[in-house]
Symmetry: none
DNA sequence: TCCTAAGCGAGACGGTACGTCTTGTCTTCCA
DNA sequence: TGGAAGACAAGACGTACCGTCTCGCTTAGGA
């Protein structure tokens, strides 16, 4: 029961790596299942043994990536201030983007990516933003909180896109500081006080 | 030579409308050329008489839309202050999004849109933003101007997405004001003075 | 309306000829649709434009052949004596087998033919035999007429198989005479008189 | 070493029975190895432990059946007259067909049988017929002996098919008598005397 | 008024990819 | 050691679109 599982895990990893590599080369749409299995040194039948189709494989890969992101945030979630925690907290998204930069590129930069995925990521981020804003707000805001959250999420993703696009000359910490500089004045103005 | 041209224009319009309607129903990817021509009451051969493929038709439609946007900005471009012009100027993007909301939805919200298009729009917007920032800056900024421009462009698009997504309960003017509230503190802080 | 039809007829003929040639080379089962279209210089998609599958093509070919057989029998069907008409009548099956010998070989001799087809042919022949026996019988037979008809049909097919198998050294007329020699005594004995 | 052998024999029997049952239900072609092992309550791997493929299993079953037929003919083969032996001799083929009627049906009647097998049986029978004819002939025949033998073999098989098809309302003895009635006049006429 | 070029419908065809199915091989584990 | 379980390679299947092509029909301007 030990070896077989490892064999399967290896097969799936080969497929995922082949997919990511091919997307970066030719764009998502034009990658065929045959091309993936050729690259992964597997047969086409094997692909369908593990995934329903190309999208299934893509989503499985993204799910893994996001599960990792969630894991980084949650563990020590006791009494920290949401939007302005100690440095590490704010750095996480940029650190994460750097580590998974191939998958991020595929999604954010690819000439032929799937907009649905990008949109899903933004909505996910916006939701997280909204939670944090609500946690630090002492009174009602002068702007719709959802609109603000989407604005911030969209801005962050665009910033990450620009960063990855230009070859990541900044460290994740520098990027977090940049983002801080861009958002802090707005937050302070809208909250009526710095977000703690 | 008059009638034929009109006939052609009519055919192209039918195709474009059929495409947009079908994308909103089923998403870009799953629309087939056959489905477009069925909807437009034309034959498949006729489609290929006018467009190379589905993407060609899509891009032609987007090009029309963007040409319109550009036309609205340019005419009276003399000595106005870029990022803080008289109200109309700032309202244009939201007004435009409202008018072409079907095409915007297709691009920004569709479950199956083409990421490349979305990315193209953001880069186009970021470039416009950068021009304006540089025009109002009196000295060097403490952040990379490209990063800031991308952040603002991404934020605006996300804001528009949220707005269209929630059924456009605000007027374009209100949206422009909202965007203003979110960006002004940041701009003031980074420029060292309000952007005029 | 003339050319297209001819084009289609040509395509179908190419497919049928390719199928027959391949069956004779490798047997029915192991012939693939791809192999047929390769041989016919057509694309696999075109095959499915005309036929549901390999069996459909096979049956269409056999149907043509049998329609021809039926046509030869019927026209001058006025007042001739069924089982013992002027020579031509009795010669028809052997003449037919000779002309379509490729298709007969495929069905009767192929190492990998389809028994269902063979069985269908025998039942068809037996039915024809039964009609003729009943037409010439003056009283009740001492054997079941269906049993006799099947015996004669099976015998004739086996005789044709042997003939084709050995390279058709006899003429169709000689084969008809042979068959006559084998069946006449039996018929005379069972009917109580020569079958007219 | 006794138990394992029995276990193996049991496994093979299960597979053979499953095959025959499935052929009668769905026809030879459409039976899959998976279906056979499912029915036999065995795993697919086990099938390949015992047989090369489906045809191998089929031929093994037929071989058993034919070995039995041969055994019935040979033992008391001393000085009997071939084509007109004491009743039992002539009855053997029909008796045999009755006992193995499932396998005969599969081969002779199945909508999807394998023509090669049927043909093999006919050639086998024709050869036996030829031996007998030559044994009883006192001079040269007016027809090719191979042609006659094939005619008789084909006739007998067709007769057996008809018999099994109609539910075997006759006893094997009655069938043998029928066959006798159909062949005797012909044999007498061709040999110039009754075949003893 | 005809007639003649262009827009268009119809549909055969060559291709490519899809997702499914079955086959036969192999390896690991269990009784 | 016989069998169960199941991953895998191989390859045919029938389907769905694609983009190209050829053929006629029609229909409106120019002769």
């Amino acid at each position: 029961m030990k070896q077989p599982d490892r064999r399967i895990a290896r097969t799936r990893r080969q497929l995922r790596d082949a997919l990511v590599a091919l997307i970066l080369e030719q764009g998502y749409e034009s990658v065929t299942v045959q091309a993936i299995t050729d690259r992964a040194d597997l047969s086409r039948a094997t692909f369908y043994l593990h995934f329903k189709d190309k999208e299934d494989l893509m989503l499985a890969s993204l799910r893994e990536m996001f599960d990792d992101l969630r894991r980084r945030y949650s563990p020590p979630q006791k009494g920290e201030s949401p939007l302005r925690p100690e440095m590490p907290m704010r750095t996480i998204p940029f650190q994460h983007a750097l580590e998974y930069r191939d998958l991020y590129r595929v999604t954010l930069l690819s000439e032929q990516g799937t907009a649905a995925i990008l949109r899903g990521i933004r909505l996910y981020l916006a939701d997280a933003m909204r939670e944090r804003i609500e946690a630090v707000a002492t009174g009602p805001l002068s702007v719709p909180v959802d609109g603000l959250a989407n604005y911030l999420a969209g801005g962050m993703l665009a910033l990450i896109s620009w960063w990855l696009d230009s070859g990541t000359p900044q460290t994740p910490e520098e990027m977090a500081a940049l983002f801080q500089q861009m958002t802090l004045p707005t937050m302070t103005a809208l909250l009526g006080h710095p977000p703690r």
